[in-house]
């Protein structure tokens, strides 16, 4: 069987960042943190690396190697793994209207995370992909995510504690994003509350299968524009009957051409002719 072409890019770690040895495996499961093209990120025992590659979704059975976020590419989006939490968070976010400049990363940082301290120093200098939007996570991750994260962490040959801490970096991601945007506020307009959905965080294939199940219907759940009032729209307003104007007629004609196909068999041709009036209608009505 032809092996599936993997769609991932090789990692391109930043030269200035010290890559930990097991970075490739770690990244397989972990959420990738954004890259810092300029910052000198010193992480002590962080198993994470900062890459400038974009994340890809690979269907390989072996651990997919995710790349870091591309700092310049456009289509990044958070995965629907965090969809559930995201929905709640969006509500909060919309209410809070956090100003970028006033984001305080400290307040959202989970306690007792030693590696975080190093990150904080670098948060301000992180650059990330332009269109990514920050999101503040004040709520704990969904248990599903935590379970998935632990499962993956267990599969990695690392110190569990650190790897687990890595997974809680999803909290940090939002912080970093927020902070990063603070740094970039001059360059970017505020994209506070938009986030990209569907971003694949390079989980393993089994997890993506699980994720996909949980993602079902997620495109229809979530915030809506809340502009139209449902009741007002669905009530049947008796409208004055006007004869179709030229615009309507032409629109109907345009629609009809969308579904035009050449005939597939003689019966379809006969159906068309019957509709045009060229063919007798069957069964023939002899009394009319």
């Amino acid at each position: 069987m032809f092996s599936r072409v993997s769609v991932f890019l090789p990692l391109r770690p930043l030269s200035r960042l010290p890559l930990s040895s097991g970075s490739s495996e770690v990244s397989a499961a972990a959420i990738v943190l954004p890259a810092a093209p300029h910052g000198t990120v010193r992480t002590k025992n962080i198993q994470r690396y900062f890459g400038t590659n974009s994340v890809v979704y690979s269907k390989k059975d072996e651990q997919s190697v995710p790349a870091g976020e591309s700092s310049r590419e456009t289509s990044e989006s958070q995965d629907g793994v965090k969809e559930n939490t995201k929905k709640d968070l969006l509500d909060i976010i919309k209410d809070m209207k956090v100003e970028l400049s006033t984001v305080n990363v400290q307040t959202t940082k989970p306690p007792n995370r030693r590696p975080l301290k190093s990150l904080e120093a670098t948060i301000g200098r992180l650059r990330r992909a332009t269109e990514d939007t920050p999101m503040k996570r004040n709520e704990p991750l969904s248990p599903e995510l935590v379970a998935a994260a632990s499962a993956v962490a267990d599969s990695l040959p690392f110190d569990k504690k650190t790897t687990k801490s890595i997974f809680s970096f999803s909290n940090i991601i939002s912080d970093m994003k927020v902070a990063r945007s603070a740094a970039r506020v001059s360059a970017r307009p505020m994209h506070q509350f938009q986030f990209d959905e569907g971003f694949d965080n390079s989980f393993d294939q089994e997890e993506t299968a699980n994720l996909r199940k949980s993602l079902r219907k997620n495109i229809f759940k979530g915030k809506r524009l809340n502009i139209f009032d449902i009741k007002a729209v669905t009530e049947e307003v008796p409208e004055t009957e006007t004869s179709p104007s030229l615009w309507d007629v032409e629109f109907a004609k345009q629609l009809a051409t969308v579904s035009e196909q050449p005939f597939q068999n003689g019966f379809e041709e006969m159906i068309q002719w019957t509709k045009e009036g060229k063919l007798w209608e069957f069964p023939i009505n002899n009394e009319a």
Binding site: D196, I230, K278, F282
Partner: protein
């Protein structure tokens, strides 16, 4: 008559109050609209609950069938013949197309013949007056395109508007206003409709030759016919709204404009890319305290989104404001509203993702079922820069899960592009299961009709086939190959190269001579990449002797094509690679002389 007999049979069966098993015959087709089911849906109790023992005879209500119901039932029983050319072509060996260019040419020729005949009938109606069809077939009789009423009156104006003669109607209107007669608002509005829709130019039509300088020469006209059908699409795009054209002039002349006048002007302006003026007119409309209708709002959304040099948030906020004004004016949004929003969001790929999804949810909440065009816009939004970044989105899976098993009818002009873009995403994601899902969706119900014109169909199938070549096992791929080609589409040389590579991987190189024969048939004889690929694959490894013979024959054939190509082009420069491959193959087959 078979049809009548079947109908009697149907009545008999329904007399037994059986459920409508005939439905199976017209199984997957949509039910004709006028079909009524039997009034009595339950069987009369036969357990003897009637005390007198006499069974109630329940006479079912008479069913009425649509006039095409029988034909549709018959049509649903016919499957596609994979070995035959599509039905649209004449079944003559000379007239069966062997490449996509030819198939397009033949179809156009057929259509232009019909148009030419219509043109002849319409330009000389006096020869075609004898009507022998019983009952009368109106569409075969000559139509008249010249206005009959010659005097200056409102009825004449209406007639000209109906015939879509722009210049004549404007002249008539001017004459009327000069003569002092007031034209009713309704007529003026319909005149404005015509002007705005056509952008103050004569509308192009299939065989209307009135706008060209009267072409008395029929021969010339029939040639123009085929050209017109191709340039018609292009013609529309180049029409732009000139300032102070007739529409604006007439609009200014109307003493009391009602909402319809404003609306149609705005729609015309947006259609012909005069966005700023459209927005100005909209403010005028608001100042006059008139209500705009939903189509106008759709046009305004498009106008706001086409303003240049604005950031995304500003545009998005503008659009949201428009929507709020819609609510304030109590205008109900329709499907086109949301589709227009999504289409405008497509220009910004990443920041527009959340708004796009919010729009989708809003649409659902309001109760409007998203159409295929909606999903197409969303797919385009999320997968736009597939080449640039590899971060893919899972949203296509969500969408496909949502769409499984649904039947669609065209509700938006962009519906036809959905399958093409979905399959493009499948091929870039290289996901075979998804491709099968999309194909399955295509085959449910009548969705096949939404595949669009020729080139879209070809694109869809070539992408589908390339995913198959990459991902599927070779036997299944070969089965699809036989199934799809040539009855559905003609492969590009790239498709054949993909297939060859798949064969190579699966070690089924013995099929190569067959592929070469097929490619000759489809007109790829002189494509050098294809030939080089074939030769290289054949010459690469040693093969069992009988295969070598076959390969050598094939190589000889290819050599002939090179030679005949040299006859045509004056530069006989055989590329080195194929030459060596051919030599190697001949040697292996023992045909040392030819080598």
């Amino acid at each position: 008559m078979a049809g009548a007999m079947s109908l009697c049979w149907l009545r008999v069966r329904s007399g037994l109050c059986l459920p409508l098993t005939v439905r199976r015959a017209s199984s997957c087709e949509r039910a004709p609209s006028c079909r009524f089911y039997s009034g009595s849906t339950t069987l009369p109790k036969v357990n003897g609950t009637d005390k007198t023992g006499i069974e109630e005879i329940v006479i079912p209500r008479k069913k009425t069938w649509d006039k095409v119901a029988v034909l549709q039932a018959l049509a649903s029983t016919v499957n596609r013949d994979t070995t035959a050319a599509p039905y649209a072509f004449q079944d003559d060996p000379y007239l069966i197309p062997t490449s996509s260019m030819e198939s397009r040419l033949f179809l156009l020729a057929k259509k232009s013949g019909e148009n030419a005949a219509k043109f002849v009938i319409n330009s000389h109606p006096k020869y075609f007056q004898k009507d022998i069809a019983e009952p009368h077939i109106p569409c075969l009789m000559p139509e008249s395109f010249e206005p009959q009423i010659e005097d200056v009156s409102e009825a004449a104006l209406k007639e000209r508007i109906k015939l879509k003669k722009v210049k004549a109607s404007v002249d008539m209107f001017d004459q009327l206003s000069q003569a002092g007669t007031t034209v009713s608002l309704e007529t003026t509005n319909s005149l404005l409709d015509l002007l705005c829709y056509c952008g103050d130019q004569e509308p192009p039509a299939d065989y209307q030759f009135q706008q060209t300088e009267q072409s008395e020469e029929l021969e010339e006209a029939t040639e123009e016919n085929s050209k017109k059908s191709r340039t018609k699409a292009g013609h529309q795009f180049r029409v732009t709204w000139r300032a102070n054209n007739n529409a604006e002039r007439i609009f200014a002349l109307i003493p009391e404009k009602n909402a319809h006048s404003y609306c149609t002007m705005i729609r015309g302006m947006v259609k012909h890319r005069a966005h700023v003026q459209a927005l100005n007119l909209y403010t005028e409309l608001l100042n006059s305290r008139l209500r705009a209708d939903v189509y106008t709002f759709n046009a305004l959304i498009e106008a706001k989104a086409s303003m240049r040099n604005e950031k995304f948030e500003v545009k998005w906020n503008n659009i949201l404001e428009l929507l709020k004004e819609m609510v304030a004016q109590k205008v109900k949004p329709n499907l086109q509203t949301f589709n227009t929003i999504l289409k405008c969001l497509r220009r910004f790929s990443v920041p527009a993702r959340l708004p796009a999804l919010q729009t989708l949810r809003e649409m659902k909440a309001v109760g409007i079922e998203p159409s295929l065009a909606t999903y197409h816009h969303i797919i385009q939004l999320f997968y736009q820069h597939e080449g640039l970044s590899k971060a893919s989105s899972l949203i296509i899976y969500d969408i496909m899960n949502e769409l499984v098993g649904k039947k669609f009818s065209p509700r938006d002009p962009d519906d036809g592009i959905f399958f093409q873009s979905a399959m493009k995403v499948c091929s870039s994601l290289r996901d075979l299961e998804l491709a099968y899902q999309v194909h399955g969706l295509l085959n449910t119900g009548d969705n096949r009709k939404l595949l669009g014109p020729d080139y879209q169909r070809n694109f869809y199938y070539s992408k589908f086939f390339s995913v198959l070549c990459l991902m599927e096992q070779i036997d299944v791929t070969l089965k699809w190959y036989k199934d799809l080609i040539p009855s559905v589409f003609f492969p590009h040389s790239q498709t054949l190269i993909d297939l060859l590579r798949a064969l190579d991987v699966a070690n089924r190189l013995e099929v190569i001579p067959q592929i070469w024969k097929d490619s000759k048939e489809y007109g790829h004889t002189f494509r050098s990449e294809l030939r080089e690929e074939i030769l290289m694959l054949m010459a690469r490894d040693k093969h069992p002797p009988e295969l070598q013979v076959a390969f050598a024959d094939c190589a000889a054939d290819i050599k002939c094509t090179y030679e005949s190509q040299d006859d045509r082009h004056t530069a006989p420069d055989w590329p080195a690679n194929p030459l060596s491959c051919i030599a190697v193959l001949f040697l292996r087959a023992g045909r040392t002389q030819e080598a």
